[in-house]
């Protein structure tokens, strides 16, 4: 769309037209871009700036004392570590399950496959609060699962409700649909010919998976990973209702610091730390997307 693309010597009228198109395009995105600037970017920048303002007698100085305070507090660090560990565990598990479902869908046809596809997308339409309460009823003490197990003679069930496993199950359940959508789309681009050729040459199922399929969908996997990670790391409802009181996921901790303890300054520091972690993964996501764009051109 740049004017360089025009062969030299073209009339000025064409160039003006392009300029007009560009302006029209910019005008179209101006409103959302402006909103983004005013409502998201500006407050974020001012909040980040604020976390580096340390109150001293008679004013403030710029410094990292607030971050030092966060990392010096073993309780806060335990919360951060807990959040990261369980986010990663949940991501990997959800990704593995989604990959399994996607592979099945790639190679299967018919009514059952369609049903499984529909079923795997179902969590997309269930709000977190509903699934949380449903899981309490299902996995909770004297819940459906325990009753079923006892029917077949298995006793000694210990509920995952209010332990780290509770939110983990919730996260995995919630984070199946989007990765399935992304990975199935990726897998559908792998040509049948490539797989058949490999098969003809005697490649086994694992070899096809690792040498033909995965290399071609690694981009989809990265995108899916980023989507799950960003959703889980800042989660609130699921860990709040299903998780243990302490350690807390950062989303819950942040809300409590702001809402209950009314310490907005500390909550801001927590938010910035979470934002930095998210933006690392977000950066991966954008880099992957951009590489794809360039590759396609």
């Amino acid at each position: 769309m740049t004017s360089d693309a025009n062969p030299a010597g073209r009339s000025g009228a064409v160039r003006t037209m392009h300029l007009k198109e560009n302006l029209a395009g910019l005008a179209l995105v101006a409103a959302p871009l402006g909103l983004l600037l005013v409502l998201i970017l500006l407050p974020t920048v001012s909040m980040v700036w604020n976390t580096f303002q340390v109150p001293v007698e008679g004013g403030t100085v710029t410094g990292i004392a607030r971050y030092q305070a966060f990392f010096a507090d073993s309780y806060s660090v335990a919360n951060l570590r807990y959040t990261l560990i369980w986010t990663l565990i949940s991501c990997v598990t959800a990704l593995a399950i989604s990959l399994g479902i996607s592979l099945y869908l790639r190679f299967s046809e018919g009514r059952i496959a369609t049903m499984i596809h529909a079923l795997s997308l179902f969590p997309l339409f269930v709000p977190a609060i509903i699934i949380s309460y449903a899981l309490v009823r299902f996995l909770g003490p004297n819940g459906l699962l325990q009753l079923l197990l006892e029917q077949v003679g298995i006793t000694g069930y210990r509920t995952p409700y209010l332990t780290p496993i509770g939110p983990f199950i919730g996260f995995v359940w919630e984070n199946i649909p989007l990765p399935v959508l992304v990975i199935t789309a990726g897998l559908s681009q792998v040509s049948d010919h490539a797989i058949e050729a490999a098969r003809d040459l005697g490649a086994g199922a694992w070899r096809i998976l690792f040498e033909i399929l995965l290399p071609q969908v690694h981009r989809s996997l990265l995108i899916a990973f980023a989507l799950i990670f960003l959703g889980v790391i800042g989660a609130y409802t699921v860990p709040y209702l299903l998780g243990p009181p302490a350690p807390e996921m950062m989303g819950v901790f942040m809300q409590r610091t702001l809402g209950n303890l009314q310490r907005p300054d500390e909550a801001q520091v927590q938010a910035v730390i979470l934002m930095v972690l998210s933006s690392i993964v977000g950066g991966f996501y954008i880099a992957t997307m951009l590489r794809g764009e360039v590759g396609r051109k």
Binding site: Y75, A78, V136, G140, P141, N142, G143, T159, Y161, L162, T163, Y240, L241, P244, P245, A246, P247, E248, R256, N260, L261, Q262
Partner: protein, 380 residues
């Protein structure tokens, strides 16, 4: 399209419309704002409204529910303050529950009507424990009680020590909610702090919070709760709120919890909790509770009507309804209520209603609990 014929008709109809307006003014409609739970707004719409209309001919009220919208009644209070400053109609006569202290500067600005026996005669019957600043009207209360399944718990606990003893004898069968997620857990934690400090709530005031002594006083409560910690449900997996705690009791996962009186009574009536569920108040020192305060803006569109409504809410009939319908605690003294009501609720009537200050003490209590009691880290 407006042609001549329609124009004539509409102008001709105008006096009619105006006439209806004038007529409508004979029945005065008060604007009541509620941001409490459904049990409160249903009670106002289904029971109070017809009773108020019958007792005060020519008056009715319209309930607007602000629950979960913006800051609830706080937003409406801000609007009323803005209306006062600009001399316009605040479009509100009565806040079912709003604490004027929450809107900074509004009391000084004169936004709230001071109530006394002069303008609300029934205030003479008020429970002395509820008397507070004059710009808010204590008209109902809730208290935290101990709810237990009488099929599993043989003798009802009457003291805090009874609860601890029972919990230790029945590991995993008692729990309480996280203190920042709901009043039932919060007031149980406060009760433990009171227990550790000679059961003297007067040691805690809004003004006396000072760091080293406060930590020491709170630690006495933490010691008691830490002692209880391994015997609670899931060895210290406290449910995240009033409802999750009730849910554990309903599922038979635990046999004893602290619970709000109104929520527990409704749950029993609705069959959510088993019929064998009983409620009891501790007699050595009650668990804290609190009054719900109504407030009336001084620029209310119909101030007289709002005061009439306030007075009506303090009649023994409405106060009885508060106990019966929503499991609340009366704002007026029990001695003005029917004797049989008192007999029926004798187990839950506290000797006194202890309170715990808001502000720094609450914050220190909640954060301290997370850092000291809830963590499963072994401390030496």
């Amino acid at each position: 399209m407006l042609n001549r014929r329609n124009f004539i008709i509409s102008t001709a109809a105008m006096p009619l419309v105006l006439g209806t307006r004038a007529y409508a003014q004979d029945t005065r409609t008060l604007q009541v704002f509620i941001d409490g739970d459904t049990n409160i707004s249903n009670w106002w719409n289904d029971i109070i409204k017809p009773a108020f209309e019958a007792a005060n001919p020519g008056y009715t009220f319209n309930v607007t529910i602000t629950r979960g919208v913006g800051d609830g009644n706080g937003t409406i209070a801000q609007r009323a303050l803005a209306a006062m400053q600009s001399g316009t109609d605040p479009q509100v006569d009565y806040f079912e529950e709003y604490n004027p202290e929450d809107l900074e500067g509004s009391i000084e600005a004169g936004l709230w009507t001071a109530v006394s026996t002069d303008n609300v005669p029934n205030l003479s019957m008020i429970n002395p424990a509820a008397i507070d600043i004059p710009v808010r009207l204590p008209y109902r209360g809730s208290q935290v009680l101990i709810a237990y399944d009488s099929a599993k718990v043989e003798t009802a606990p009457r003291t805090f020590a009874d609860i601890v003893a029972w919990a230790k004898a029945n590991p995993g069968r008692f729990t309480y909610g996280r203190p920042d997620k709901g009043g039932s857990g919060s007031n149980f934690v406060i009760r433990a702090i009171h227990e550790g400090n000679g059961r003297d709530p007067s040691l805690f005031t809004r003004e006396n919070f000072a760091q080293p002594q406060a930590d020491e006083m709170l630690q006495k409560g933490w010691d008691i709760l830490l002692d209880l910690h391994p015997y609670t449900f899931g060895e210290g997996t406290y449910p995240a709120g009033n409802t999750p705690a009730l849910q554990l009791l309903a599922q038979g996962a635990v046999d004893m919890i602290p619970a709000w009186s109104d929520q527990a009574i409704q749950a029993i009536n609705q069959g959510v909790l088993p019929e064998t569920t009983k409620l009891v108040q501790l007699q050595d020192l009650a668990l804290c509770g609190g009054f719900a305060y109504s407030s009336i803006p001084s620029n209310a569109t119909d101030l007289d009507g709002a005061l009439k409504l306030a007075n009506f809410m303090l009649t023994p009939e409405m106060q009885t309804s508060c106990v019966r319908e929503i499991g609340g605690f009366p704002g007026i003294d029990w001695s003005y209520l029917p004797a049989e009501l008192k007999d029926e609720y004798i187990d839950v009537i506290p000797v006194s209603i202890p309170t715990f200050p808001s502000g720094d003490w609450q914050t220190a209590k909640n954060d301290g609990w997370y850092r000291v009691v809830a963590t499963n880290i072994v401390r030496d």
